[in-house]
Amino acid sequence: MWVKPWKMKEGFLIGGGLLFAGMLLQVATGPIRWELFAWPVNLIVLILLLAAVGVMFALGRKVYAFEWMMHEGAAVPCLVYAAALTILMGLLPQVRVGGMPWLSQMLRFWPFVLIWTWMMVISALAALNHLLRWKVKEIPFILNHLGVVVAIVSATLGSADTQSLQLTAFTGEPEWRAVDDAGTVHEPGLAIELHKFTLEEYPDHTPKRFASDITVYTEDGKAVQGTVEVNKPLKVNGWKVYQYGYDVKYGTESPYSVFQLVHDPWILWVYIGIFMMIAGALCLMLFMAPKPMRS
């Protein structure tokens, strides 16, 4: 144990250490409060994370542990822990409040978050390692490992900056107040006036299509007219307006339409990560799969 070269055993022990450290943190500080990561805290965390990865990479030749982290042997135990905790999350009901201690709120469970963070650090180090010995044939590896880091890190750190509000607009009455999940009233800086709500139904009266003709007024004096329907949101001043619901009691005669307003300032980075992963997966099957063998 701990004799070079490290085997997977060392990786499983490090993972076990992270689980233990996570449990201590959970006892000491309680579940992670992601809302505390709102701007600029998430930026600071990101800079610290990047700095840590940079330092680890720079010391790779001197500190054996850091060099070891760049290779598959470190990835396997980490992925095993991540998979196991995610399976556990899938098996146990996840609730917002209450439930089983620790495991019913897996996303706020320190050990889960530490393991995923470890996975991101390992993946970033591996990507850097391949990036710096640049060759065209390294592109697939870099896309896959950097893509997943860019997508997951920006999605996680950006979650506290994401606003999701519900706005109910009655026909002909501009509405600027919207409520969040907790029921708190917000004024997101835009108003929606509903001109006409349309509902088409199938013969069995299940909804086929519902849409709202609206005008969105913004604080800076814009008036954007458009139709919002499911799968076709409208983009105004960094907000996306989604068709969310209507008064099902009245159906086609619904006097109001419910919209969801979403503001997600980190979305561009998530998309960049996702498109890197899609390109990476394409490369995975075209270039990374071992050559077929014929006897």
């Binding site: 997977m8 290779h71 598959e72 042997g73 990835a75 396997v76 992925l79 095993v80 991540a82 998979a83 995610t86 399976i87 999350m89 899938g90 098996l91 146990l92 009901p93 996840q94 996303l107 999605a155 999701s164 199938y202 069995d204 299940t206 909804p207 086929k208 299509r209 519902f210 329907e229 499911v230 799968n231 076709k232 949101p233 996306k240 989604y242 969801q260 979403v262 997600d264 979305i267 998530v270 996702i274 992963m277 899609i278 990476g280 997966a281 394409l282 995975l284 099957m285 990374m288 799969a289 071992p290 077929p292 063998m293 014929r294 006897s295």
Partner: protein, 261 residues
């Protein structure tokens, strides 16, 4: 095209695939391709017919996803055959496809025209179709894993190579399915990932196949452990596909249940 004609299309296709599989054993290559591809074309004609008559892609109900799965198994089979020349692969894909066709004949599911607004998106077809193709490939990889674990000592490099390939291509399609789903969800609901039970199991499945891939790189000699991981991964995949409908943790929580009335 109505569901009633499924039995004729399906059984003719199965007979053609069985003929293709037979000719594979007899090493009559042109006949293998002719029979198998005709069967595939016939089966696809039925899917297209359903698509047109339902006025929506037939991808909504469990029965409809099984339809695609039965279609993709021989597709994956003929691809593997063309690259590795395994005589048995087409027999296997025909048999497995036949099992799914029988399930569909016995339990057709609801095939109404209605398609809820959330599913009316250009992402719907690619999201489900790439997943079904991936499931077919990863199903084949699972059978390889079982086969290699049973025969242990007799396992060849070529078999391991085939399994690796199935997983690489299967995982690539699994990734496409997951990410197309994320891009679609952003357009439909405003969130690209919500840890809905189906999404949680999709993530777990994805991670399990990543374990396989990294283990194969780190310890090429430990292919038996890798095979066991493939079995675990496939269990996760099944839970993700239909098992969550029976999991207490997912009851009433998943937005991915569309065929519940």
């Amino acid at each position: 095209m109505s569901w009633d004609s499924f039995v004729w299309f399906a059984l003719t296709a199965v007979l053609l695939w069985a003929a293709g599989a037979f000719f594979a054993w007899k090493e009559r290559k042109p006949l293998v391709y002719a029979c198998t591809l005709t069967g595939i074309a016939l089966f696809f004609a039925f899917i297209l017919g359903m698509w047109i008559s339902l006025e929506r892609p037939p991808l909504r109900t469990m029965g409809e996803t099984r339809l695609w799965y039965s279609f993709f198994l021989p597709v994956a089979g003929i691809i593997v055959y063309s690259r590795w020349r395994y005589k048995w692969i087409l027999s296997f894909s025909t048999l497995l496809s036949f099992v799914f066709i029988c399930v569909n004949l016995l339990k057709p599911g609801i095939h109404s025209k209605s398609l809820m607004p959330a599913l009316q998106s250009p992402w719907f077809a690619p999201h489900v179709i790439v997943y079904m193709f991936s499931y077919a490939l990863l199903g084949a990889a699972t059978v390889m894993a079982v086969y290699m674990l049973i025969r242990k000592g007799k396992t060849t490099e070529k078999e391991i190579n085939l399994t690796d390939n199935l997983v690489y291509v299967g995982l690539a399609f699994l990734t496409f399915g997951m990410l197309f789903g994320a891009l679609w969800a952003k357009e439909a609901w405003g969130t690209y990932w919500a840890w809905d039970p189906k999404e949680t199991w999709a993530a777990a499945t994805w991670l399990c196949y990543l374990v396989y891939m990294h283990l194969r790189k780190a310890k090429p000699g430990e292919w038996q452990t890798a095979c066991v991981i493939l079995l675990v991964s496939f269990v996760c995949l099944q839970i993700c596909w239909w098992g969550i409908n029976y999991l207490p943790s997912a009851q009433g929580l998943s937005i991915h249940t569309y065929n519940v009335k």
